[in-house]
């Protein structure tokens, strides 16, 4: 009995150490963003700001258009999420419920494309967007991401778990496909769609390389790009960089704490099938 207890204490100890390692950067980021410059660079490191420097945030907003970055990020992440969800939803419906020639071929092509790393096509996509004259536009920022094979595949497995007789029943009841999608499929899959939406929004919020390529005007930058630009410009003003990083991370962190169950469940389900 005693041996077991030692094991449990040991387990808590290790978990606590790693939990601190995991959480410390976030705490340091949030607290550091409220410290003075001297406090952030002191040895030994300051753990708690003597008096929170809320003015750091005022300085950040004064030095770079973070409100604009915020807005840009919110717009692109939301638009990407809504439209890509809509498109993958329609595609997944067709793949699950309809019978048509060429379905097998479509499925094989989509599954193979799932394996193509985004980094391998991002530069040529930049080229396409540039040729379309869409650099530094919202359209250019979102266009390649308005559908997602990955989420379509996820939704296919979700819809596939709904009994096919539900679709048959709705056909006999006289519902059109459109009515089936909006009155039955979507309400029945709310959980899955919500999770996919969250994951899509988060990855949209955190996107970096693509907006880095297709925007170079300050007014079109997204948060992460604004943040890196700010980090080079603000030079050694550590506390301002940490405040800016907090601005970027905090909204998602809040979203995560509210919907942690849906997000974690979604990721687990997503990837074990992949």
């Amino acid at each position: 009995m005693k041996k077991v207890k030692v094991g449990v204490i040991f387990a808590y100890l290790i978990l606590a150490i790693f939990a601190i390692i995991t959480v410390y950067p976030f705490i340091y980021m949030i607290l550091g963003g409220l410290m003075t410059f001297q406090e952030t660079t002191k040895i030994p490191p300051t753990l708690w700001p003597k008096s929170p420097q809320w003015s750091n945030y005022a300085k950040v907003f004064a030095q770079a258009p973070f409100a604009r970055y915020f807005l840009n990020t919110l717009i692109t992440a939301s638009v990407t999420t809504i439209i890509s969800l809509f498109n993958s939803l329609l595609g997944a419906f067709a793949m699950v419920n309809l019978r048509f020639k060429g379905k097998g071929v479509v499925q094989v092509i989509l599954l193979s494309l799932l394996m193509v790393p985004g980094e391998a096509i991002i530069f040529t996509n930049y080229n396409t967007i540039a040729q379309m004259g869409l650099l530094n536009t919202y359209v250019g920022l979102v266009l390649p991401f308005l559908t997602s094979i990955f989420y379509m595949y996820y939704l296919q497995s979700y819809f596939g778990s709904i009994s096919p007789t539900i679709y048959k029943a709705s056909m006999i009841d006289g519902a059109s496909d459109w009515e089936y999608i909006w009155k039955i499929l979507v309400p029945m899959s709310r959980g899955g769609l919500f999770t996919v939406g969250l994951l899509s929004f988060i990855s949209g919020w955190n996107s970096f390389l693509w907006p880095l390529l297709v925007t170079n005007e300050d007014s079109m930058r997204l948060l992460n790009n604004g943040l890196t630009a700010f980090a080079s410009d603000a030079g050694s003003e550590t506390q301002l960089q940490l405040a800016a990083a907090t601005l970027t991370v905090l909204p998602i962190l809040i979203l995560y704490f509210i919907f942690r169950k849906q997000i974690i469940r979604g990721v687990v389900r997503n990837d074990l099938k992949g």
């Binding site: 790693f18 550091g32 067709a94 391998a120 080229n127 094979i149 943040l227 890196t228 990083a245 974690i264």
Partner: protein, 288 residues
């Protein structure tokens, strides 16, 4: 119901158009561009000279070497730590969801923002990491500014970021193991260690194979974390250049898209090969 419901294409149309334009076309385009030289507006066919160029470019080999080293070191360490943590959470403690939620945080947060934070944790003078190392009288190197430490720095950061996904997936797999296996093992008096090695690990093999592949592929695509840690550079004097860094550099900065695409094709083939290996491995496991 008709045999061939052509309306299906209507529902698939938006996806198919976007996929053709932004997934299929760019792959083909990348292959073609890798055989061309010149700037984006004036490309000429040059056969395989881009490939010859990259294979003779020490910078390219450094990037590939860094990428491979990064993958080979960070992936196994991260996996091992993840298994340990997932198993401890699963088998030893209450508050499972508390730890799960905590460990998953890095997955949802911006690599760029956290990378900037780590830049200061790694700071040679006033960083928290060196402060702790000095307490234990360990060497406290200059993580950011010393070129010889660049790779170690991105490996540590890479491990920190990849634990989240691994742990959550492993927890899912652990929960899927039929608890009756453990009940029976208890009846025969198996110890905790025996249960771990004889029941848990074999059951985890498919998940581990999956995670290994996902991690290796992710490692080969490493870019953002380097960018964030070294403030847009690939470490001092490009010491921590990676494959994607090389591609970005050749494409956007140097303005030789053909060279960039040749490197892209090489990277693409490596990743495809890893995926292919995974498929084979999974089939072998599934066939047992």
């Amino acid at each position: 119901m008709k045999q061939n419901q052509t309306k299906a294409w209507l529902f698939l149309l938006p996806t198919l158009i976007l996929v053709t334009l932004f997934s299929i076309y760019p792959i083909l385009r990348a292959f073609l561009m890798s055989l061309q030289s010149g700037s984006l507006i004036s490309l000429q066919w040059t056969g395989f000279s881009n490939y010859q160029y990259i294979f003779h470019d020490p910078e390219f080999w450094l990037s590939i070497k860094n990428t491979i080293l990064y993958a080979l070191i960070s992936v196994p360490i991260a996996l091992a730590i993840s298994i340990m943590l997932a198993w401890l959470i699963f088998s030893k403690v209450k508050h499972q969801s508390f730890f799960e939620t905590t460990f998953f945080m890095p997955y949802v947060t911006s690599t760029i923002a956290i990378g900037i934070v780590f830049r200061y944790i790694f700071n040679g003078d006033y960083g928290m990491l060196n402060f702790i190392l000095r307490i234990f009288h360990l060497p406290a190197p200059n993580w950011i500014d010393d070129p010889s430490m660049s790779l170690a720095t991105i490996i540590i950061f890479g491990i920190w970021t990849s634990l989240a996904f691994n742990i959550v997936i492993l927890m899912g797999a652990l929960r899927n193991i039929d608890p009756n296996y453990y009940t029976i093992a208890d009846m025969y008096g198996a110890s905790g260690t025996q249960k771990f090695w004889r029941i848990t690990m074999p059951q985890l093999v498919p998940t581990l194979a999956f995670l290994l592949t996902m991690n290796i592929i992710a490692a080969f695509k490493i870019y953002t974390s380097v960018y964030a840690l070294f403030n847009g550079q690939a470490g001092v004097g490009n010491s921590a250049s990676t494959a994607v860094f090389y591609i970005y550099n050749k494409f956007q900065i140097v303005g030789t898209p053909g060279v960039a695409m040749a490197a892209t094709v090489v990277l693409f083939l490596i990743i495809l090969f890893v995926t292919f290996l995974q498929r084979k491995m999974m089939k072998k496991i599934g066939g047992q």
